[in-house]
C-alpha cells in the first residue's frame, strides 16, 4: 500500500512537468498529511481520488479535460498551509480541497481571496469539505469559498433537536478542542440547549489543547465526578478516539453525542461498549438508504486493503457538484464555475442539496444516528468489520437547517 502511494506521488510529480500540453484541471489537496491527524488526511485523500477517478472515467468535462489531484501537506497548521498554498499555486492549482481544522480553513480562505484579487487571470476556488466553523460562512465568508458540509450551528441544531426529545437525559458534559471550532461547538451547544431543554443541566464545559493531549484520563475522572449522563463533543481524529478509549477503559457509562465518530478508527476503538450509547450527527452515513449503502460498498471495492470505510459524503458531493458546474458552464475556469455553483441544486445519494448564494453554505439534510449491532438487521452495513453500524434515528430536512447569515460578498 505504502509503495503504491509512493509510486502515485512519483507519477504525479512527473505529470506536473508533462501536464502542460494536454489540458488538466489541477485539484490541490491541501491537508494535514503528517502529525497527529495524518491518518484522517489520508482517508480524505482516498475519498477524493475515488471521486476524481470516476469523473475522469465518465469523461464528460468540457474540451475533454481531466482532473488531477496533487496532495500538499499543511501539517494541520495555518502557517504551513499558507506556505504550501504558494507551492500549490506554482503547481498550477485551480481548486483547493481542504477540511480538517477550521483554523487552517480560515487562513486559507483569506489567502485564496487575496490571491484572486491580485491575479484575476488565474482565480482559485476553495472547496471546503469539513471545516465547520460558522465564521467561514459568516464574518470570514469569501466569494471563492464553498462549504459542502453543514456548519457547527446547523449540526448542533440537529443534534439538540434530538437531545430535546430524550427526556431521560438531564445532565450533559461538553468537552471540545481549544480552538475556533471547539469554541463554536461549545457555544452552540450551550445556547441551543438552553432554549430547547431549559431544565437540562450542563455540568461541565472543558476545552483541551488540540492534538496534544495523549492521556484523557484526568478529563474522564472529572466527567465521572460531575455525574454527567451524556458527553457532547465536536472532537475529531485522535482527539476523539483517545477520549473514547479513555472513557471505555475507566468504565464510564454515558451517552456520547458526537459529530465525527464514524471517522476512521472511531467505531473500532469504542467497540461493543458503545452500542446504543454513541450517537452522531452527520450529512452522510452508510445506512441512510440503498444509494448510500451502494456508495459505501464502492469504497470497499476500490480500497479492499484499507482499514477505514467511506465517511466523507461531503467530498463526493463537492467533486460531483464541481463536475456538474463545469459541464453546465462549459469551461473549467474557476471564476465561471464558481458562478455556476452558487444556487446549484444537486440530487445527492442522501437527498436533494442546494448551494446558498448568500453565503456559499450547502443546505443539506442531516441525520442523527446511533451505533447498533447489525446482526439480525439485514438492511444495515457495518463499519470497519466490527459488526457495528449506524442506524438513522432522525432526519432533519435541508430547509430546516437554514441559519441566518451575516455574510456580505463585496
Amino acid at each position: 500500500m505504502r509503495l503504491v502511494s509512493l509510486l502515485c506521488v512519483g507519477l504525479l510529480s512527473l505529470q506536473v512537468s508533462c501536464g502542460q500540453t494536454n489540458k488538466e484541471v489541477v485539484i490541490g489537496f491541501v491537508e494535514g498529511l503528517s502529525g497527529p491527524f495524518a491518518n484522517i488526511g489520508e482517508v480524505a485523500l482516498r475519498h477524493l481520488h475515488l471521486e476524481v477517478d470516476a469523473v475522469n472515467r465518465r469523461g464528460n468535462l468540457p474540451d475533454g479535460i481531466r482532473m488531477k489531484v496533487i496532495p500538499f501537506d499543511n501539517k494541520t497548521n495555518p502557517q504551513e498551509a499558507l506556505l504550501v498554498f504558494r507551492s500549490a499555486l506554482d503547481a498550477g492549482v485551480d481548486y483547493v480541497f481542504q477540511g480538517n481544522s477550521s483554523s487552517v480553513a480560515i487562513a486559507l480562505t483569506g489567502a485564496i481571496a487575496k490571491h484572486n484579487r491580485r491575479n484575476p487571470e488565474h482565480p482559485v476556488l476553495f472547496m471546503n469539505y469539513a471545516a465547520l466553523d460558522p465564521a467561514l460562512t459568516n464574518e470570514h465568508c469569501e466569494k471563492s469559498h464553498f462549504r459542502f458540509d453543514a456548519d457547527v450551528n446547523m449540526k448542533m441544531a440537529a443534534l439538540t433537536e434530538y437531545i430535546a426529545v430524550r427526556k431521560d437525559i438531564d445532565s450533559v458534559y461538553l468537552i471540545n478542542q481549544d480552538y475556533s471550532y471547539g469554541h463554536a461547538v461549545s457555544a452552540a451547544a450551550r445556547s441551543m440547549l438552553e432554549v430547547k431543554r431549559p431544565n437540562l443541566r450542563i455540568v461541565g464545559d472543558d476545552l483541551h489543547p488540540i492534538g496534544r493531549v495523549k492521556d484523557f484520563s484526568p478529563y474522564i475522572a472529572k466527567i465521572k465526578a460531575s455525574g454527567a449522563q451524556a458527553i457532547v463533543t465536536g472532537n475529531w481524529g485522535s482527539d476523539l478516539t483517545l477520549l473514547i478509549k479513555s472513557a471505555r477503559q475507566m468504565g464510564v457509562d454515558v451517552d456520547f453525542f458526537t459529530f465525527n465518530v464514524g471517522m476512521t478508527g472511531g467505531v473500532t476503538t469504542i467497540g461493543e461498549s458503545g452500542v446504543e450509547r454513541v450517537h452522531q450527527v452527520t450529512n452522510w452515513h452508510a445506512n441512510i438508504n440503498e444509494a448510500t449503502q451502494e456508495n459505501a460498498k464502492l469504497y470497499r471495492v476500490k480500497y479492499p486493503d484499507v482499514f477505514e470505510d467511506a465517511y466523507y459524503g461531503s467530498i463526493r458531493r463537492a467533486v460531483r457538484m464541481l463536475e456538474k458546474a463545469m459541464i453546465e458552464s462549459g469551461t473549467h475556469n474557476p471564476e465561471v464555475v464558481g458562478r455556476a455553483l452558487r444556487d446549484m441544486e444537486f440530487a445527492d445519494d442522501a437527498g436533494l442539496v442546494s448551494m446558498r448564494a448568500d453565503n456559499h453554505q450547502l443546505l443539506l439534510p442531516l441525520f442523527v444516528s446511533k451505533l447498533v449491532k447489525i446482526a439480525g438487521k439485514n438492511d444495515l452495513v457495518d463499519i470497519e468489520n466490527t459488526g457495528l453500524g449506524f442506524e438513522t434515528l432522525a432526519e432533519i430536512p435541508a430547509e430546516k437547517t437554514r441559519m441566518t447569515t451575516t455574510c456580505q460578498f463585496d
Partner: protein, 315 residues
C-alpha cells in the same frame, strides 16, 4: 473523594511513565555529560518495535525484545556516531543528537507511514483491575506502574550493588584511573548509552499502546522530558523520580480545577464585566492552562534554584 483518588492514581501512572522516559536521559547525562536530544525518538522506536515484533511474537516477548533492539541501536549510535564527534566537544554532540532525532522521525515515516499504527493493549491485560467507588481502574495502568517501579529498584541495585555498577560510577568521576586499572572505559560508556536508550524504549513499549503510536509521539514528549530532567536536577536519578511524580500530578490535577481569575475576583467581591476587554484573558481556567504548567515550573525552577531539586551541578 472518588475524583481525588482516581486522579491520584492517574497522576501516579503518568508520573511513573515520565520517569521511565527521563531516567535514561538523566543517566546518560550524568555518566557522559551528553544531553541526548534524540532521547524521545528512542521512546518512539520502542513503541514501533513493540508493535512490529508484537505482530509476530505477541506482546510479552515484544516487551523484552523491543527495548533490547532499541538498546542495540543506541549502542551503534554511541560507537559509530557520538564517539566520533566527541572530540569536537559538547556542541558537536548536541548537534549530532539533534540531527539524529530528525533522521529517526523520517525513517519512521518511511517504514510505518505518517498515520498512527494500530498498536493495542494485549487482551491478557485489557481488563478492569478493581472498581473504586464506581470508576473502573484498568489493569494495564497498574501494570505500567509496576514495571516502572521495578525498573527504578533494579536500576538502583545495579548501580550501587553490582560490580558493573561500581565500574560505571567510577568511570564517571575517575575515567583515567579506571582505564589504568584495565577496564575498557569507552565500552562502559557505550553500555550506559545503550542502557539509557533501552529504558526509553521500554517506556515506548508501555506508553505506545496506552496512548497512541504515531510519528509525532517523539516530538510531543520530547520537551516534557527535558522539563523533568531540569526540574529534578541534571543527572540526578532521584531528582528525576521526584520531578516526574510532581509534574505528573500537576498536569493531572490541574485539569480538575475550573477556577479562573474571574472566579477568584468574584470570590473577593469584584465582578468583572463580560464586555471588558480583559475578560477573554482573565476567564481562562486552570484546567485550560494544564499543558503549560510544567514549563512554568521549569522557568521558576531555573530562576529560584538553577541546579534543580536534587542536582549537584550549577549549570
Amino acid at each position: 473523594m472518588e475524583f481525588f483518588l482516581i486522579t491520584l492514581l492517574n497522576s501516579l501512572s503518568y508520573g511513573l511513565l515520565l520517569f521511565m522516559l527521563s531516567s535514561g536521559l538523566t543517566l546518560i547525562f550524568s555518566m557522559m555529560g551528553v544531553l541526548n536530544f534524540a532521547h524521545a525518538s528512542f521512546y518512539m522506536l520502542g513503541a514501533y518495535f513493540a508493535y512490529q515484533t508484537g505482530m509476530v511474537f505477541g506482546f510479552w516477548p515484544a516487551l523484552f525484545l523491543a527495548p533490547i533492539l532499541v538498546g542495540v541501536i543506541g549502542a551503534i549510535t554511541e560507537r559509530y556516531g557520538l564517539r566520533k564527534v566527541h572530540k569536537f566537544g559538547h556542541v558537536a554532540e548536541l548537534l549530532f543528537t539533534f540531527g539524529l532525532a530528525y533522521v529517526i522521525e523520517e525513517v519512521v515515516h518511511l517504514i510505518w507511514g505518517r498515520a498512527p499504527v494500530d498498536y493495542r493493549i494485549p487482551e491478557s491485560l485489557n481488563f478492569t483491575l478493581f472498581t473504586l467507588f464506581n470508576t473502573q481502574y484498568p489493569a494495564y495502568r497498574a501494570f505500567m506502574m509496576l514495571v516502572s517501579v521495578g525498573m527504578l529498584v533494579s536500576l538502583y541495585l545495579v548501580l550501587t550493588k553490582t560490580r558493573i555498577g561500581l565500574i560505571v560510577q567510577a568511570s564517571l568521576t575517575h575515567p583515567e584511573m579506571v582505564q589504568a586499572l584495565g577496564h575498557n572505559v569507552p565500552r562502559v560508556f557505550m553500555l550506559v548509552f545503550a542502557g539509557g536508550c533501552a529504558l526509553a524504549g521500554l517506556a515506548g513499549v508501555l506508553g505506545g499502546n496506552l496512548f497512541i503510536t504515531e510519528p509525532g509521539m517523539a516530538f510531543s514528549v520530547g520537551s516534557i522530558v527535558f522539563v523533568v530532567v531540569v526540574v529534578g536536577g541534571m543527572g540526578s536519578l532521584v531528582g528525576a523520580f521526584i520531578a516526574s511524580l510532581l509534574i505528573g500530578s500537576i498536569q493531572t490535577f490541574s485539569v480538575g480545577f475550573d477556577l479562573s481569575f474571574i472566579d477568584l475576583m468574584a470570590g473577593l467581591g469584584v465582578i468583572i464585566d463580560s464586555n471588558s476587554s480583559w475578560y477573554a484573558g482573565l476567564s481562562i481556567t486552570i484546567s485550560q492552562t494544564a499543558p503549560v504548567l510544567p514549563y512554568l515550573l521549569m522557568v521558576l525552577m531555573l530562576i529560584v534554584r538553577p541546579r534543580g531539586l536534587m542536582g549537584t551541578r550549577e549549570t
